[in-house]
Each structure stands twice: as C-alpha cells, then as structure tokens.
C-alpha cells in the first residue's frame, strides 16, 4: 500500500478509522482540530459520526455514550479542553468502557496558540488510564489503530497524547488493514455505568486492580523500545518525540549511551529499573512537564545522579528541539548568521476588515468616560484586541470566563463591567454564566461579537449560528436589553450610542454585534464564484 502524507493529527484520525471507529467528537482547538477535520473531509456521513460538539465536555460524554452502546468512539481536544471535560474524563475511567474509547489530547508546549502548557499525561495518571505518546506520524497511526483494542481489553479509556510539533508535522504513513466497525452491543454488566456509591466503589476497585496489567502492557509494548550501547556512564530516558531530537544530534543517529524510549504509560517501571542499574547516571528528556523525571526522583531522591528539567540541565518551559538538548549531551551548539537587528517581531493581528476591530473601536469610545480595566474577554480571534492599536481588553483566562468574571467584578463593585465573547465561545461555555447574571440582573454588558464561525481554528461551523437572540431570551435576558449592532465603520456612531446606553443601564444587557468573519466570507464568495 502506498504511503499517505499525513500530519500527526490526521494520522491519529486515519488510524482510528481503520480500527473501526464509529464516531469522533470534538470542539475545535489548536493543535487538535485537524483530527476531526480529517474525518469530516472524507464525508462518511451516515457511517461515522463527525459533527462538532458544543464543547469538550459534551464531546467526551457523547463519546462515552457511543462506547456504552458498544461502538468505538474517539474524543479529541487541546490540552485546556481536557479541563472542560475533566468531569466525564475522570468518571469514564471509573465506569470504564464497553466499545473502545480513545481520548486524543494535543498539548501545546511553548503556548503557540494557548494560554498555558499543561501536560495531559498528569491528567491521565490522575485518572489512572494508559497513555500512548507517539514519536512519529507512523506511531500516531499505529497507536490509534491499536488503542481501541487496548481499551476494550481492559475496559478503560485510553489517551493518545500529542504535542503541537507532531500534531502539525507531515510525514509518510503506512496503513494497516481496515477493521469492521462494532455492532450495537449493551454493556456486559447492567450496573457498569451507574456510579452510585455502592457500585462506584466496586468500579474504582476494578480500575485499581487493572493497573498491574496496564503496567505489564507498558513493559511489553513495542512502543517502549530499548536501544543498548557500550558506554554506560549515562543512560537516557526519552518521552514521546524527544527521542527524535536526541537522535538528531548524532551521526547516523548512533547514540553512544543506552536509551529507553518511553511512548506508553503507565511507566514501564521494571525497564526503567534495569536502565538505572545498568548505568552510572541518567538523563531524562521529555516534552512538557517533567513527569518521568519527577517520578524517578521521588521526594527521597536516588543514589545516582539524574539530569533533566528539574535540575536546570534542560529548559523547564517551552517545547523541545534538537538544539536545547546539546548542553546536557556535552555538544556545542552550531549556529548560522545572526538575525539582523532590523528584523522586527510580527505578532498575529486581526485581519484587515475584521468585524471585531469595529467592535473594539466602538467599545473603546463608549468606555472612555469610565477609564481602563473594565473589559473582560475570552478565547478567540478577538483576544487579539488586547494588543495595540486597540488595547481594548483587560482579561483572557478560559472559555466563557469573560461573562462570569465581569459578573464577579460587578459583584465586587466594579460597575459597569463589560464582557466581550465570541459566538462560538458563548455556546461553548458562556451560556451558563449568562444565566448566573440573569438570576441577579447583574449590572454588566455582554457583547457577543458574532462572526458566525469558530474563526481562530480555521472557520468551523458555530453552534451559535442564528440562535443567539433566542438563547439570550430563553435564558431570561430582558428583550429590550438585547440589542443588535452591525460592526461596520459606517454605523460607528450608532454603535457607540447603543453601547453607551446599555453600559449605563444598571442591569444585564446583551449586545449582539453581528457580521460574518472576513475569512469565511471571502472563502464563501470565492466558492460561489467558481460554482457553475
């Protein structure tokens, strides 16, 4: 079979499809978006579910529901999305699965497109489920292909952990023979999915009992490979794609020291012990937080020296690359020419003609008399309004936080407080917060900057489309304080006036600022033009 050129994300999707996946659930989030988009692009409607979910929690629960019904399901998200889905995630580990369930999480060390660089392996350890961490696109495929079997063998969800670099890097991938999809099949035990205390205690016991088996799987896994070498003054442990950066530093990839390449968790303790006993000291190289290293050191330490992120031998933050490994390997860095001093930073910016820009111009003018520090914002393209020339925003924390933080600040006496949130972020996590504000008629103004898409991740369909006014009314926002504006230069004066009125109003108001994303509008027009 000819090799496919796939990104790590796409390789996960291809592997899952070939393993007989019946449905994939996700909310878009860089760097995980392309997993689901790959499946959507194949147009398997009616055979494999692939529509977007409202958020990661609803996605996780739907995947668990599909697993309950005996079919293989995948749920995908970025690292911070797992926070949103944490409740079903932790509890799915307790219920266990019926059909195989795989949770693909893409972490973003270096925060290329995120607000933190949390390491999902800790979450998996917290839930006590296995993790597969590919070091190549081929492994991403092979792991997704095999993960459902692993999940069904031990009745536990399995995590595939990617990081940005592999998620968004392409390489050749060889496929395995496609497997048939599962038939509908009820769970073996009728109480497996009922987490009432008496039953949950049994399920939790089962999860603990299966840990030894999972460690045995790790011990025997072909993904945890040992490469021997003669010089045992050092032994190296790598996590995931860190192995590639290590190999890159040696001619013909011949690493002079023994290496244990760890790509499956729980940690293969026996193999780690073997390496420790064989070598005089250890170096631990892993992408993300120092999970392996911290575990090895423990609180009491080890007799032999361990170098890694915790002792400063490797950088504690940011993603790895071949160059940051050089000092700990005793290699001197190579470098080309210096970057000339005239080269300037070029941070991302709102597109020319973006509707959010007109919202910020109007908002800045409407807020002028109140002073700075009152605009709470959220996660999306519009967060770029925090940068010049707008400097319009004062917070960006997590999905939906703009509304609830504005409410909390107003509760504290910061009146008026304003929230700026996107349409898709609003239906992801803003609606429940708005309900809180409705209950107390909080003196805040919520601007939903509605560009009719999930823009930052590439223009996916927004659940909010054509529903925002009815959602706000349904939640109980007073209809006379739901105002619509069209963020265009020619309406600037009117928009400022409407904003001023509602910001001055002493209760809850919602401004729907509606204009299509300039990117999706351009794409739509181009498509319409090429249509015969």
């Amino acid at each position: 079979m000819q090799k496919l050129m796939l990104m790590g994300d796409e390789a996960v999707a291809r592997g899952a499809l070939d393993a007989g996946m019946s449905g994939i659930y996700a909310y878009p989030g860089t760097p995980s978006t392309e997993i689901t988009e790959y499946v959507q692009g194949l147009d398997l409607r009616g055979e494999v579910h692939s529509e977007w979910s409202a958020n990661e929690k609803t996605a996780m629960e739907s995947a668990l529901g599909m697993s309950y019904a005996g079919k293989r399901a995948m749920v995908c998200m970025k690292h911070v999305g797992l926070n949103v889905a944490a409740d079903p995630f932790m509890n799915a580990a307790i219920t266990g699965v019926n059909g195989g369930m795989v949770i693909a999480v893409a972490d973003d060390p270096s925060m290329h497109s995120s607000q933190n660089e949390q390491d999902s392996r800790y979450f998996a350890r917290f839930a006590m489920i296995p993790v597969l961490e590919p070091s190549s696109q081929q492994e991403a495929y092979d792991m997704a292909y095999g993960a459902f079997d692993l999940s069904e063998r031990y009745l536990v969800p399995v995590m595939i952990r990617l990081t940005t670099r592999l998620a968004h890097s392409r390489s050749g991938v060889k496929r395995s023979p496609p497997k048939p999809r599962n038939e509908l099949r009820m769970p073996g035990s009728p109480t497996q999915f009922i987490l009432l205390p008496g039953m949950a205690r049994k399920s939790y016991r089962r999860l603990i009992d299966v840990q030894a088996d999972l460690e045995k799987e790790s011990h025997e896994s072909r993904f945890n490979a040992f490469f021997d070498a003669a010089d045992t003054s050092v032994g190296i442990l790598t996590g995931g794609l860190a192995y590639n950066y290590l190999a890159e530093n040696f001619d013909d990839f011949k690493i002079p020291w023994p290496v244990l390449k760890i790509c499956q968790y729980p940690l293969p303790v026996k193999r780690i012990r073997e390496l420790y006993e064989r070598c005089d000291s250890l170096i631990v190289i892993e992408e993300g937080y120092p999970l392996i290293e911290e575990t090895l050191r423990g609180v009491l330490g080890t007799a032999k020296k361990i170098r890694g992120k915790l002792d400063g031998s490797l950088p504690r933050t940011g993603e790895l690359n071949p160059d940051v490994l050089k000092p700990v390997l005793g290699l001197s860095p190579k470098k080309g020419m210096e970057v000339p001093s005239l080269v300037r930073d070029r941070p991302p910016a709102l597109c020319k003609g973006c509707s959010h820009a007109d919202v910020f111009h109007a908002l800045n003018e409407a807020m002028e008399s109140y002073g700075d520090g009152r605009v709470f914002s959220d996660i999306g393209c519009y967060t770029l309004g925090a940068f010049p020339p707008f400097n319009a925003l004062d917070t960006c924390v997590d999905m939906g936080a703009s509304i609830t933080m504005a409410k909390g600040a107003a509760d504290a006496g910061l009146i008026p407080s304003v929230s700026v949130i996107g349409d898709s972020t609003f239906t992801h996590s803003g609606m429940t917060g708005l309900l809180d504000a409705v209950m107390e008629n909080s003196p805040i103004t919520v601007i939903i900057s509605d560009n009719r898409t999930t823009a930052m991740t590439g223009g996916q369909k927004s659940h909010a489309e054509d529903r925002l006014e009815s959602i706000c009314r349904g939640l109980g926002v007073s209809p006379e304080h739901i105002r619509r504006i069209t963020p265009l230069k020619k309406y600037h004066r009117d928009n400022v006036e409407i904003l001023k009125e509602e910001i001055a109003y002493g209760g809850l108001s919602v401004i729907l600022a509606e204009r299509e994303c300039i990117q999706t509008a351009t794409r739509r027009k181009r498509k319409e033009k090429t249509k015969p």
Partner: protein
C-alpha cells in the same frame, strides 16, 4: 540526498502551498519527508514558517537544527532574515523582495536590501511583480518556489507534477497559471 528547507512568510501568504508542492515532488522521487507547519493564532498575519526536511535516508527530528538548513525560501524579505541562524554555512537564501507591511515599525527597505545582499548565497526577486505580469498576483509564492527549484536536488519535472497534483481540483486554468509562475521564477533565478 538530503535537503533541509525553512519556508518563511506571513500568515496567509501561501507558504503551505509551497511546502505541499515540494512535498509532492519529493514523494514522486520516493524520498522521506518531514514537514512541520504552523497552524492557529500565528496564521492571522503573524510570522509563520515551515520546516521541510527531505532525505533519501530516514529523518529523525521534525525540526531543523540551527546552522543546518540548506535553503531558506521566503515569500517576504524581512521574514527571510528571521531564520538566518538556521542557515548552514553553504546554504542559499531565496526570497521575494516585495514587503508585506502590517506592522508599524517595519524596517527601511534599503537597509533590508543591504542585509539580504550581505548573505553570501542568495537569490532575491520581486515575485509579486513577476506574478502580476503573468496575470495573477496570487501565484507569487510559486514564482519564489520556481526560483528555489535549482537548489533543492529534485528534478524540475517533479515539481511540475507536484503542482498538477496539489491544484488538481482547482481546474486547468489555475494549474497553468501556477506552472507559468514556477517556470518564470526558475528562469529568473538562473539568469541572475
């Protein structure tokens, strides 16, 4: 054979089409490829790059180490300089000279030209002007790729086939335009 390339530009300028075309050309020659790209926030008018590695042997890292790139291909002059620390001692810089100015402190164009000229091995051409003269400013990225083709170590015909495949769904007219841009870029580079 081994060729490590950094493709540079500003989000939205079409560097991923360049990467895809090279990738397709390499695939046609049974070469190994790893190609890392930037998605997400930076695509909104920020600095973007793609690390493209091609080899007849296996490839370890998705990222090119400092000082080891054989080639920088840039669709924007200032962006071409951002990745100089990755360029190897014998490496080539191929760049468009037409600036994309979306920041208030963009450097002086003369000073920028001097810095590009200071790179020992470089090809600088106004790809936008060339593309416009061909009838479509949108193919300037393929002009830059054309100028880089003599330095990649893959037969020129493979690039033509690669572009045909990449743009196959867009119709003959668009394929022809991209191929014309590729050829013009190659001719310009060879005549410099």
């Amino acid at each position: 054979m081994k060729c490590d390339i950094i493709i540079a530009g500003v989000g939205g300028q079409g560097i991923l089409s360049i990467a895809a075309s090279i990738g397709m050309a390499a695939l046609g020659n049974d070469l190994e490829i790893k190609q890392a790209e930037v998605h997400g926030m930076s695509q909104r008018g920020g600095a973007v790059q793609s690390n493209m590695r091609i080899s007849s042997g296996s490839i370890a890292s998705d990222l090119i180490p400092l000082g080891e790139a054989d080639l920088i291909i840039s669709v924007e002059p200032m962006e071409s300089l951002r990745y100089l620390p990755w360029l190897s001692a014998g490496g080539w810089l191929i760049t468009n000279t037409n600036p994309f100015i979306n920041i208030p402190d963009y450097p002086d164009l003369e000073a920028l030209k001097e810095q590009i000229d200071a790179v020992p091995r470089h090809v600088a051409l106004d790809a936008d002007a060339i593309a416009s003269s061909l009838g479509s400013a949108r193919v300037s990225n393929m002009v830059v790729l054309g100028a880089a083709t003599p330095y990649i170590g893959i037969p020129y015909g493979s690039f033509k086939q690669g572009i045909r495949k990449i743009f196959s769904r867009k119709g003959e007219e668009i394929i022809a335009m991209n191929l014309a841009a590729l050829r013009k870029g190659k001719e310009m580079a060879e005549s410099l």
